[in-house]
């Protein structure tokens, strides 16, 4: 269903701009929480812009766990497999793949903290 303007992203941007506008007028705890609120809205905007594509995550989980039931918590299953030592001989491969997984998360949460090798357009580490 289509909606009238503003778009979803514009709505979130409006909220963030308002919070940014009032934050300097606040003090102490309220100011800190306003800055956090602005940060959270920006995460939401990036997450929505990403479109919720989890194909890379599903491919990674399938690579280590094989086919899984729809709705299964694949990350929990992967965590259990690692803890049980069943993937010890694939440590280096996992280190790289889990780095890529976390990089995808950080691109949504705080892309500015990524190392140059993981910025958009950079080579994968």
């Amino acid at each position: 269903m289509s909606q009238d303007a503003p778009s979803l992203d514009e709505l979130l941007l409006t909220v963030r701009q308002f919070v940014d506008e009032i934050a300097p007028q606040l003090a102490g705890r309220d100011r800190y929480h306003a800055l956090c609120a602005s940060f959270l809205v920006e995460i939401a905007r990036r997450e929505i812009a990403g479109g919720g594509d989890d194909s890379e995550e599903r491919a990674m989980l399938g690579h280590y766990l094989g086919p899984t039931e729809p709705g299964a918590n694949g990350l929990a299953a992967l965590a259990q497999a690692i803890r049980g030592g069943r993937l010890d001989d694939r440590f280096d491969e996992l280190l790289k793949d889990l780095t890529d997984h976390v990089v995808r998360q950080v691109r949504v949460t705080r892309p500015d903290v990524l190392d140059a090798m993981h910025r958009e357009g950079g080579s994968q580490g």
Binding site: G28, F39, L40, L75, I82, G85, L95, V103, V106, T109
Partner: protein, 343 residues
């Protein structure tokens, strides 16, 4: 009454209850002529209430700090206030820069889970300490002072701190940390991979010493000359000395100064040298690195705790919500450190 008015009215009632409880506790200990004045409620600390006040005892007036644990998180990783107070009672007579413990609340007081220490003036905000021009001399001294503090702490006989022996982090810090993450119902493959690495690369048995447990930028008061008091004993436990060194050097606690591994203040060499001089024990940099890998797991665990408090509704706030998303940032630093990209 509006919601805002109700909130401020209940805050005022709480303030009056605390002030009265504090006054009664002071009279119990210092006599009916004693009193309190200049009471200031601060907002520092997520699950602790901190109140500054003057103790008036005859002609003498002394600034003190009341600290009360107000929220005990489910599955808490923190020491109870009574044992925190006992740690301070061990450290202060040794001449270490810690707040002087004054008294602990007991069953005959109206307030519980609380103690009083001497006020120490100083700055604790990392950004100011690391960036403000007036703290430049303190920054110069920090690495040596931090090394000396930990060296002296770890040189103490651990026997009087045996009351910490049954704290889970004294028994096995990895099991304690991962056990809490499990109980919060969170699965993080990157942390599991790091645990496998830790298990395969575990250092040989280290001597067991009293550790601060949370010695990092933000948990100490400083002036322009350097460290005035080391605070926050909620995580004190017995363990391998290098754990405290690794925690201070954790990349997550460098506040933008990633090229200065010792808390964002400076290089490792003067820190390790001062530690060795004060403790009589050389630092093994590889063992410190092992504890830094563990430190990321532990810091992720703190953020899981805050996220859990938020999503379960126990302690909702924008900051605790952000902690949930902060976990991925910590995992990223952990994996980059494991691969040797970050040092």
């Amino acid at each position: 009454m509006s919601q805002k008015e109700q909130k401020s009215s209940s805050a005022a009632a709480l303030g009056a209850t605390i002030t009265e409880g504090l006054r009664a506790a002071v009279v119990r200990r210092f006599g009916t002529e004693a009193g309190i004045d200049n009471v200031v409620f601060t907002t520092v600390g997520g699950s602790n209430l901190t109140v500054l006040f003057d103790l008036i005892d005859g002609a003498a007036r002394r600034r003190l700090v009341f600290r009360q644990e107000t929220i005990v998180p489910e599955n808490s990783p923190f020491l109870d206030p009574s044992r925190q107070f006992r740690v301070l009672q061990l450290l202060h007579p040794e001449g270490l820069p810690v707040p002087e413990p004054i008294f602990e609340f007991d069953a005959d007081d109206s307030l519980a889970r609380a103690y009083v220490v001497a006020f120490v003036d100083g700055e604790s905000l990392p950004r100011r300490l690391l960036d403000a021009p007036n703290f430049a001399p303190a920054r110069q001294r920090f690495c040596a002072q931090a090394g000396e503090f930990l060296g002296r702490l770890h040189a103490l006989d651990p026997a009087p701190a045996e009351f910490l022996a049954d704290f889970p982090d004294s028994i096995d810090p990895i099991a304690a940390t991962m056990g809490r993450i499990d109980r919060w119902g969170v699965s993080l493959p990157a942390l599991e991979l790091a645990v496998r690495w830790l298990e395969r690369n575990r250092p040989s048995n280290a001597p067991r010493r009293l550790l601060h447990g949370d010695f990092r930028t933000g948990n100490m008061l400083m002036d322009e000359q350097g460290i005035r008091a080391v605070l926050d004993y909620e995580c004190a436990h017995l363990g391998a000395p290098m754990e405290d060194l690794g925690w201070l050097c954790l990349r997550s606690f460098r506040f933008g100064h990633v090229d200065k591994p010792v808390g964002g203040f400076g290089p490792r060499e003067p820190f390790y040298a001062a530690y060795a001089a004060a403790s009589g024990k050389a630092v093994d940099p590889e063992e410190v690195r092992w504890w830094e890998i563990f430190g990321f797991i532990r810091w992720a665990h703190h953020n899981v705790m805050q996220m859990y408090g938020h999503v379960t509704g126990a302690r909702r706030s924008t900051a605790f919500a952000a902690c949930g998303r902060n976990i991925a940032l910590i995992e990223y630093e952990l994996l980059m450190t494991l691969q040797g990209h970050y040092t």
